[in-house]
Amino acid sequence: MNIHEYQAKELLHSFGVKVTRGHVAHTVIEAEQAAIKLGCKNWIVKAQIHAGGRGKGGGVKFARTLAEVSEQTERMLGMNLVTHQTGKAGKLVQKVYIQEAYDIGKEYYLGIVLDRRLEMPVIMVSTEGGVDIETVAAETPEKIIKVGIDPVIGLRSYHLRKLAYGLNLNKAQMKEFSRFIPPLYDAYQKTDASLVEINPLVLLKNGEFIALDAKLNFDDNGLYRHPEIADMRDETEEDAAELEAAHYDLSYVKLDGNVGCIVNGAGLAMSTMDIIKQSGGEPANFLDVGGNASAETVARGFDLILRDKNVKAILVNIFGGIVRCDRIAKGILEAAREIHVHVPVIVRLDGTNAKEAGEILQEANIKEIIIAHDMREGAQLAVQAAKGDR
């Protein structure tokens, strides 16, 4: 789960991390009030969306006067901000963060993330702050300094020294840096974060380190023990269909093609997308209705997929293990009757009671339902049907 910058900063602040002073605003009036409350000379107005690269898209602006704060807020609220992370569609700006403008000495990058290879969290720093870290990693990987933190020993002074030496900090800066990191790492651990990114981490002219930006992602599996973080979820930032699917314990990702698919199991669902592509089509979605698919989950799957107007055909690919295919077949028939299934549905059922399932579908004799005997045939039929030549 992602949260907004202003939420991340509030959360980090509660752990003792030095963050910028600022307030969130939903209207121009709130923005002005926030600016007055901050009582500083200059401000930064920052669009709050769940995506990086906001500056380049016009979502981060400097303001010298209260009038400029209002002007920028008015311009940003309601705008569709397009960045390299939002895709072409962009994201609607519904709130801004009014922040004090600081005298910046130097910018750094700081990230904490799980390293799947080392199987421990790593802290990464770089002198290349304020730029896309993926680019730094690709072009000048030697400029990224990493230390793995073994959970058995936790964060130690030598970890901090290694990072600080890597950044060429002087003695006074090192001392400040060593104060800045521990509460941040503490926040990463205690909130079940999957990513903490401070980009840029800035060294102010007064010698202090402060988080100028903050991005936090959380391990969804850990959210049950942090209800206060779960409450920060901004559902307007997420795809409505994906959210609804999650509500029913289905795993759905919308894609751009026209062949919908309903599959049991994540691996088989990914493979089904792959075989649709290999058969000359484009998958409209990833949908895993769970290893133990039921008639009910399949029906919900139809409902979700049919809302996508691009979908011209649906491939149902179920491998029945513990779950019996004849039950699934009945579920498909029921769904076809209840929901108006107006596109061809290609059904491939294999595994437990697959033969009986085939007979049930055959006997029902519904013109939209086409039986496939294996995955490849299913994909080919679905792609043909989506192209309109069946």
Partner: protein, 292 residues
């Protein structure tokens, strides 16, 4: 022989009396798995599915000499269950539970390693040695006995692959679902090592997916150490970047962990890569024909 489990394995089930535990433990018993006990705190002393129930793993082990544990405990308590099993000296811990926080598994895995035990999963279908022991949630009949070792990150895709292998006239020695989480107890290399030295296994099929780099490290290992033929399939060739595809670990981070880089690494290591999920069985059959 086969690997990890056989008909001598003495299995206890943690979360035995719950809905999932009861349902799947019964299926394991029906398959012929030697389930000797169950553990559910607070229910010690009762008899469930004809097996004794204990409050703690330690009691269960001292009374029944169980050496394998199968875990169905809910995510919030699953890491604790793994630690308890390792502490009680269980040598093989199979954790089916999906949804365990990564932070919990990081610690649990370290402790299991420290105790010299093996953790399979979490978020996996378990292990089956065909005709001997089913310690998991897979449909047993799909895994007809044969001489192919199967390692997979996925559930239903494993059944699909086993089904294709059987339809191609072969069968399974042992199949291990290693799980789809970002951190898993046992990876491809650990199992490739076991299958390579298993006299009941002639060839190995590995099913991977996007996310992480376990498949790439497996490819490096195969090149140096595996003499038996290996066939692989990698799911998610069409998966978009930055989106989690069902499994917690199935995500392309930046440009890392794509199916293509894994396929390239495996092909470079001499592995027969099935590009289509429908061709796992036929790729294996062709490879074996060439070698015979």
């Amino acid at each position: 022989m086969s690997i990890l489990v056989n008909n001598n394995s003495r299995v206890l089930v943690q979360g035995f009396t719950g809905k999932e535990g009861t349902f799947h433990a019964q299926k394991c018993i029906d398959y012929g798995t030697n389930i000797v006990a169950g553990v559910t705190p607070g229910k010690g002393g009762i008899c469930h599915l004809g097996k004794p129930v204990f409050n703690t793993v330690e009691e269960a082990v001292s009374s029944t000499l169980a050496d394998v544990s199968l875990i169905f405990v809910p995510p919030a308590y699953a890491a604790d269950a793994i630690l308890e099993a390792a502490d009680a000296g269980i040598k093989l811990i199979v954790c089916i539970t999906e949804g365990i926080p990564v932070r919990d598994i990081l610690y649990a895995k370290k402790y299991v390693q420290h105790k010299g035990s093996i953790l399979i999963g979490p978020n996996c279908p378990g292990i089956i040695t065909a005709g001997e022991a089913k310690i998991g949630i897979m449909p047993g009949y799909v895994f007809q006995k044969g001489r192919i070792g199967l390692i997979s990150k996925s559930g239903t895709l494993t059944y699909e692959a086993a089904n294709q292998i059987v339809k191609a006239g072969m069968g399974i020695s042992t199949a291990v679902g290693i799980g789809g989480d970002p951190i898993i107890g046992t990876n491809f290399i650990d199992l490739l090592k076991l299958f390579e030295s298993d006299s009941d296994t002639d060839a190995i099929v590995m099913i991977g997916e996007i996310g992480g780099e376990l498949e790439i490290r497996a490819a490096e290992y195969i090149k140096e150490h595996v003499k038996k033929p290996v066939v692989a399939f990698i799911a998610g060739q069409t998966a978009p970047k930055g989106k989690r595809m069902g499994h917690a670990g199935a995500i392309i981070a930046g440009s890392k962990g794509t199916a293509q880089e894994k396929i390239n690494a495996l092909q470079a290591a001499g592995v027969g890569v099935a590009l289509s999920p429908a061709e796992v069985g036929s790729t294996l059959a062709n490879l074996k024909e060439k070698l015979d």
